[in-house]
């Protein structure tokens, strides 16, 4: 056996273990934050994860760091599932609509995601959740293609962020009619300069199914009614 392989193997095992522990902490954090809010303390998270305080600090230094990591992880999970389906479409207006509708429907499907988002301090939610960065990409394309008209890119991005955020918040806090996401996205498209009839056609297009891998934190915590 090559003597160099032994430390390599150990390093790999250690890295995997580290990754597993981090995932366990994020799962506990989602559970705790979505039931208690972002002011739940590190104690609650380590108690839920059954972990020593000292080892927690090997992963995250502060509550804020944990919140930000969890927001980023949830965003990545959803984007990895949603964005390839968005990219199947050529029309930027249809892309923006599909991305936003799928994000909003995910909130209804995973109530603990909604509970977490609605409790996040605002700029965190704004900068790292709901696929806003990907929506911005499609908005820029739509403006270049003159699909979105008479609107500055910054204004278009802020409009979309505002509509998606407050719709997400409303869906997380109340029971709304099932087509609330479609209605929101329809008004958003009109704000971007798409005419009303066309906006209605776009939001009536069928949505593909959202499939998450079994390892997704969203599936491992809370109850997924789709199953």
């Amino acid at each position: 056996m090559n003597p160099e392989e032994i430390p390599n193997h150990r390093t790999r095992v250690a890295a995997e273990r580290r990754e597993k522990t981090r995932a366990r902490l994020l799962e506990s954090a989602l559970h705790v934050f979505s039931s208690k809010g972002p002011h739940a303390v590190i104690d609650d998270v380590i108690a839920h994860a059954g972990m020593a305080r000292g080892s927690f600090y090997n992963y995250f230094r502060t509550n804020e760091e944990l919140l930000a990591a969890l927001a980023a992880e949830l965003n990545n999970e959803l984007i990895r599932a949603i964005d390839p389906l968005v990219q199947l479409l050529a029309d930027p207006a249809e892309r923006v609509a599909r991305g936003a509708r799928m994000q909003l429907h995910a909130i209804t499907r995973f109530p603990h995601l909604g509970a977490f988002i609605s409790r996040l301090p605002f700029p965190t939610a704004n900068s790292s959740l709901l696929g806003l960065r990907f929506l911005s990409r499609d908005i820029a394309q739509g403006i270049t293609a003159e699909r979105f008209r008479q609107i500055q890119p910054r204004v278009a991005i802020d409009l979309v962020a505002g509509v998606v955020l407050s719709a997400a918040y409303a869906l997380a806090c109340e029971t709304l009619q099932p087509d609330y996401p479609e209605q929101s996205v329809c008004q958003m498209l009109q704000g971007l300069g798409v005419d009303g009839t066309e906006a209605q056609r776009i939001v009536a297009l069928p949505l593909p199914e959202l499939t998450l891998p079994g390892s997704a934190i969203l599936l491992r915590t809370g109850h997924d009614p789709a199953e």
């Binding site: 301090p121 605002f122 409009l159």
Partner: protein
């Protein structure tokens, strides 16, 4: 037999008034401390000291730092809405009334970054159930639908669309430089999202804004004084 409530017993009312006064005092102290330390800061110990209350009685009013930030922001926001209502109430055209009110709200925050920071920092909670926005906005929107200015279908989501867009605008204005007509552009986008044509949206956001007189005892005036004092120090 239990005594019927005595109609001349003022105790419950007096207690409620005292409670309200104390709440106001805490909010004002918090406003000053947040203004000095930043909207993200932990302020409870300073607020308790400045308002001269015990830690225990503080927690009868607010449970967390966030609760306090939300309360200050809500108070500030409702004060702004009330001032605005005072000047737009006489505008007959509902679309123009909505457009002018939102422009005033955005311009007030644009002129005072601290206000923008408060409102952005408290996030969606500013538009919570105690917000005056639910009293003033829906009737105007409904009237606009009747006049053919807005789509009826937009009504179910209109308040949320406006709340969210205003919040993101607050965040934008709190954190960086923006074009002079950014508030107008945002209002145009909101009006279009309610079904209005671009031409009409541009027209309704072109009028000069009414002047708002800010009463000296208002929270807004205090924030402004605070900002001026800080500018003089630096």
């Amino acid at each position: 037999m239990p005594a019927a409530p005595n109609p001349t017993d003022h105790r419950p009312r007096v207690a409620a008034e005292r409670r309200e006064r104390m709440r106001k005092r805490l909010i004002e102290s918090a406003l000053i401390v947040f203004a000095q330390k930043g909207v993200g800061a932990t302020v409870i110990p300073e607020v308790v000291a400045a308002a001269e209350v015990s830690q225990g009685s503080f927690y009868n009013y607010f449970r967390t730092n966030e609760d306090l930030l939300t309360a200050v922001s809500e108070e500030l926001s409702n004060e702004m809405l009330q001032l605005i209502e005072g000047v737009v109430g006489t505008i007959a055209d509902p679309g123009l009334r909505v457009a002018t009110a939102i422009r005033c709200y955005l311009q007030m925050a644009r002129g005072n970054r601290l206000v923008a920071r408060f409102l952005a920092g408290a996030g969606m909670r500013v538009g919570g159930e105690h917000s005056m926005v639910y009293d003033v906005l829906p009737p105007d929107l409904e009237e606009g639908v009747k006049m053919g200015q807005f789509d009826a279908a937009a009504l179910t989501v209109a308040v949320d669309v406006i709340k969210g867009t205003v919040l993101v605008a607050m965040h934008r204005m709190a954190s960086g430089r923006i074009a002079k007509d950014y508030p107008e552009q945002m209002v145009q986008a909101m009006l279009r999202s309610l079904g209005m044509s671009t031409a009409d949206a541009v027209k309704l956001t072109a009028a000069p804004l009414p002047r708002l007189a800010i009463p000296a005892e208002s929270l807004l005036a205090r924030v402004q004084a605070r900002v001026a004092a800080q500018a003089a120090e630096s």
